[in-house]
Structure formats: C-alpha cells, structure tokens
Amino acid sequence: MAAGDAIVGHVVTFGRVLREAGLEIGPGRVADALRALDAVDLARQEDVYFSLRQTLVSRHDELDLFDRAYGAWFLRAPVLPPARQRTAADTLTRVGESPGDRLRAAEQDEEAGDPLELGASGHELLRDKDFAELSGDELRRIRDLIARIARTRPQRVSRRRTADARGDRLDVRRLIRHSLRTGGDPVDRPFRARKDVPRKLVVLCDVSGSMDAYARALLLFLHAVVGTGRGVEAFAFGTRLSRLTPDLATRDPDAALARCTEAVVDWGSGTRIGASLREFNEIYGRRALSRGAIVLIVSDGWEREDPELVGREMAKLARAAYAVVWVNPLKGNPEYQPLAGGMRAALPYVDRFLPGHNLRSLEELAAVLAGIERRHAA
C-alpha cells in the first residue's frame, strides 16, 4: 500500500473515534477507506473528505456525526465529536427519572418486599387495572402478556408468489418440468399463490409529562412490536421527535428502555404534537415511510401550542397512510370527552380512536390492528 504507515494509523484511530460516536465501523470499512485514499490525491482535502465519508458512512443520518468527527480529528476544529453515552450511571444523572429507571427501581423494590401471589383471577384483575396504577411488580408480570398482544401484526398481500397447492396461478415452470416425466402431458398442476406479509406499522408515542404514567407500559408494548420483525418504525415525541427503532431493537426489554431514555432528549417535558408531526412528515413522510402503513399515535392530545397545526399535519399523514389509529389512555375514563384542542383537531383524520390504559384495551387495539380496513381512498 502506497499510503504510509502514518496514514494507516490515522485512519484506524479515526475509525475508532467514529465507533465511539456510535457509527458501525468494521475492519472492512477501514480497509476500504485506506484503498480509497490510495486512489486519490491526498493533497486535495475535499477528495480525502469524500473518500473517507463514502467508505465509512452508509446512512444519511450519520453524515452530521461524521462531519463533526472529521472536523475534530482531521481539521483539528475546536469541537468534540458527540460521543453517545452508554452507561446506566450517565443516564441517571443526565435525564433524571425516566420509565426505564423506574422499571429497574421498581424491580429492586419488589426483590425487597413480599412477592405478590397472583392466580388466574389475579391476571384477570390486572387486565382491567389502569397502567398508571400498576406497581413495578405488576408491570413486570404483565410484560409477557403485552409481548403476546404485540405479536398480532396486520397483514397485507404480497405481490410475490410462492408455491402453494391451493394457489390461484399456474406454476408454468414446474408444470413444464413435471410434464417431461409424463411424456409432455401436464398431469400434475402445480400452483402459486400470493402470500400474506406484515403490513408496515409506524408508531408515534407521546412521552411528555402528561403521559408519564402510561409511558412505561406503552414502551414495553412498542418494544414487543418492534421485536415482531421488519417493517416497524417507532418514534417518541414530546417537544421534538426521536426515532427509537434502533434502540428498541435490543432483545432485552430493560436494556431497550434504557437506550430509549438516552435517545429521547425530552422525557416528561411539554408537548408539541403539531410540530412533532410536522417533523415526522418532513423527514420520514417524504421518504414514504408512512405510505401504505398503519400509523399508530399514542398521545393524550394535549397540544401546548397550535392545535391548527395538528390538524394540518394530521391531514398530510392521513393522506399517505393506509389507516391512522389514535390511542388515548384518557379515553379509558368513561367520562372522557375529547376537548383538548389538539385532540379535537386530529380526530377528523383518525380512522380508529381507542383507549390504551390497560391490558384489555391493548388486546382490543391488537384486534383492531389485525383487522383494519382502509377507510379512505388512496
């Protein structure tokens, strides 16, 4: 390799810097970066920059991180790359009490206290108990139930066909092959059919202060939904939007919740539903993330700023989506009326409006998701 040892050292260390900042940099990428630098003129800074960026970064949302790290490392700019903190201690001091911490704290409480005996009737009681009133122990007990509910995913029919004896389309390739055995006569008639695949699901979960009591249970639900496979995107919002999908992809629910609390900058803050929806529509809606998807919004509809904006952005969202489902834990109260300005502005664009305050209502939600039909035309 023509590039000298100094460059190799530089690039390897830079790879480590990026890794610490949260990018996935394997040895293959570093090797590519060195080969790329070998092919370009090192005296041209622009070419060095693009060579490194194009070999080390593979996602648009990592570009900003890369630019800052590049500035700090190669240009000696006086900014530090924003390293993601990963330890639990950091999280505690940084975001204060959050659902993940409370879950952990609640479990420690449980170990100290008397374990509660729960029979079948106990589960039955739990099903109707408001999430806001659950103890840490009870929350842990219903975790598996929540996961089971989340596993029911809405399906759509794929355009791909696979072999299926009860299919509707003749499998000509296999027909020809089989007919060779019978002297050219098509005795066997193999068929192909379209199969069902999970429909895209986008979940937007309100984690502002007013939703705090429900956030931990709903995050468990989100975690389980993301765990059902591809095509699920999860976001949290308060005053702004954070994408949670990669953080929730961790198998262990506790670790996933801890990572979520790191990712979300505004736990327990105020709510700007309209602005958050706009952020979603602009960044992700434009990438057609919501097109043909079921969009599930979990929020109490308390907009602190501009209810009109909520209506406008909901209209955009509803146009792209296959169906919009709004889950509002407050609706669990029989006396609840959707009087909050944001909620009222949003309702005309909502296909199904459901409570989400206890296990039974989550079951109802899963049933609705599984059987939902498109209400409006494309």
Partner: protein
C-alpha cells in the same frame, strides 16, 4: 475507457453534458478504482439515475437498467424460461422423446437485466434503480449476486461474469436497506446543487437560454426549496421549467409568467396553492435579487 484521476473523470462527465459535484465525481471514480458498487441516495430529482447514464456514456459501456418494484422476482430480474416455446417444442416432437437438455437450452432462455449484465462481453454499467422499492428477499438475493458476480441456473449451470460490471444502486430511502448490502457498497448522498452549479446545469441543458433567465429560474426554485412543500422541486424540475420559459421566449421572470408555468415546477395541488399571490410576488422579487447578486 480508464480514468487516471477524479479530475479526468469529472472532465469526461462534463463533456457528456453531466455536471457532477466533486463528491459525486469522487464516488464514481472510487467505485471504478475499488470495483465496488456505489449507492446513491438523495431527494427525488437530484440526478441519481442521470449519473448512471452519464457514467455509461463516458465509459463507452452499455447501460443495463433494472427498475425495482414491489414483487420484483428472479423471473423478471434474472431470467425466465420461454414456456410457450418449450410447450410447442414438446408438441412438435410428440412422437419422439424430448430430452431435458434440449428443452432447457439457451434458445429457450429469456435473459433479464441481471443475467444480461453478468453474461456480457462488452463493458456494462448496471443501474439498479430504486432498490428500496424491491422486497427484502430480493435485496438478499441481489447481495449474493453483487458479491460473487455469478448466477446459477439449475438447468444450465453457473454463469460467472467475465468482466465485472460497474454497479450503481439508487434509493429514495422509503426504507432502510440491509446493513450487509450497505457494507458492500460505497455510499454517497446527493444534495441539491449550489446555485452556481444549478445555473450552469440549466444553461447546459437548455441551449440558447438567456443567462439572466437561467439565473432567475434557478434562484426561484431555490426559494421554493426553502418553503414547507410536500414535494420540493429537484434539478429535473428546474430544467423542465427553464425549457418552458425559454420556449415562451422569456428574457426574465415576472409574477404572471411564473403563475402560468408553475405546474412544471410544483407537482402537487396543495404546493401550488401555497405559493400563490403575495407569496409568489415576494419569491419572484427575492429570486431576481438573488440572481442579480450571483
């Protein structure tokens, strides 16, 4: 054609009427030098597909395009057997016996883009367009093809590429691609061009356009991109629009002509409604000021 440096490739692309920015030229150059596929992402209309066409032209290579869509499968991407001909052949040989090799020979094979690209003797640029629209299963299959550059047809055997095609993938990011596929490719994000470059592109693509009109049109589109629109216009829209203005014999912009021709820049009713009236007059003024300054 071989290119010894990014500068050389950039010059050749310019001569082929494609103006890449330095980043894109670097990506294409590295893709050739490292013989790795390059994944181009960016907003609609920034010239991702055009880049592949231009590269094919400067390499004097054949452009083979695979347009992806949901449900795309091997039969439409790689090969398919010509069943009607096979059936006819069986029919014709009714009395004798048909051997399997006869029936599954090259003359019954319908070659689709991937097979064409792998089994080609001339240089090829393979454009896999909008890969994010294809199913994930297909993406996994594609990953295999792009690592080995060979295709196995059970009835015939394995066909390996005699020369690796240059591969360009494009994605509009309607979903995230597999990490494995991304690891295999260089990645380049194409943003909207700078105002100077966009003016240059318009003047290149719309021969004879008055300099002032080109600058004002580019500046106006730039103003539009700053608004909250459902679909901000890309370079392709700027070119279409400049063509329309030029065909109407315009020397410069005014609110009236913009109003009449807005449909070639903005494609959504709500976007057109959003820039009517005062907004439009204001944007025209700002664009004219910006164009005069640039």
């Amino acid at each position: 054609m071989e290119f010894a440096s990014i500068d050389e490739l950039e010059r050749a692309l310019r001569d082929a009427d494609y103006l890449p920015d330095r980043g894109l030229a670097t990506a294409l150059y590295l893709s050739l030098a490292l013989s790795k596929p390059v994944l181009l992402e960016g907003e609609a209309g920034v010239g991702k597909t055009e880049a592949a066409k231009a590269l094919a032209s400067v390499l004097e290579a054949r452009l083979i395009r695979l347009q992806c869509y949901e449900g795309l499968d091997v039969a439409h991407a790689v090969y398919e057997w010509n069943y009607p001909r096979q059936l006819l052949h069986i029919r014709a040989a009714q009395e004798g016996t048909v051997r399997e090799e006869e029936l599954f020979g090259p003359e019954y094979l319908i070659r689709r883009p991937l097979l064409e690209a792998i089994d080609s003797d001339e240089p090829v640029v393979l454009l896999i367009d909008e890969i994010d629209r294809a199913d994930e299963e297909f993406e996994a299959f594609l990953l295999e093809v792009l690592s080995d550059f060979q295709i196995t047809i059970p009835e015939i055997g394995t066909i390996a590429a005699r020369r690796k095609p240059a591969v360009i993938l494009t994605s509009n990011r309607t979903r995230e691609l597999h990490d494995a596929l991304k690891r295999r490719a260089l990645f380049h994000w194409i943003g909207h061009p700078s105002i100077e470059r966009e003016i240059e592109i318009v003047r290149l693509r719309v021969p004879g356009i008055p300099e002032r009109l080109a600058a004002e049109a580019a500046a106006f589109v730039r103003e539009l991109r700053g608004l909250d629109l459902a679909k901000p216009p890309g370079v392709a829209e700027t070119i279409d629009w400049a063509m329309a203005l030029n065909a109407l014999g315009r020397q410069e912009l005014d609110a009236e002509i913009v109003e009449q021709t807005l449909g070639s820049v903005l494609k959504y009713r709500e976007d057109i409604d959003a820039v009517r009236d005062e907004t439009l007059a204001r944007l025209v003024d700002e664009a004219r000021a910006a164009a005069a300054a640039s």
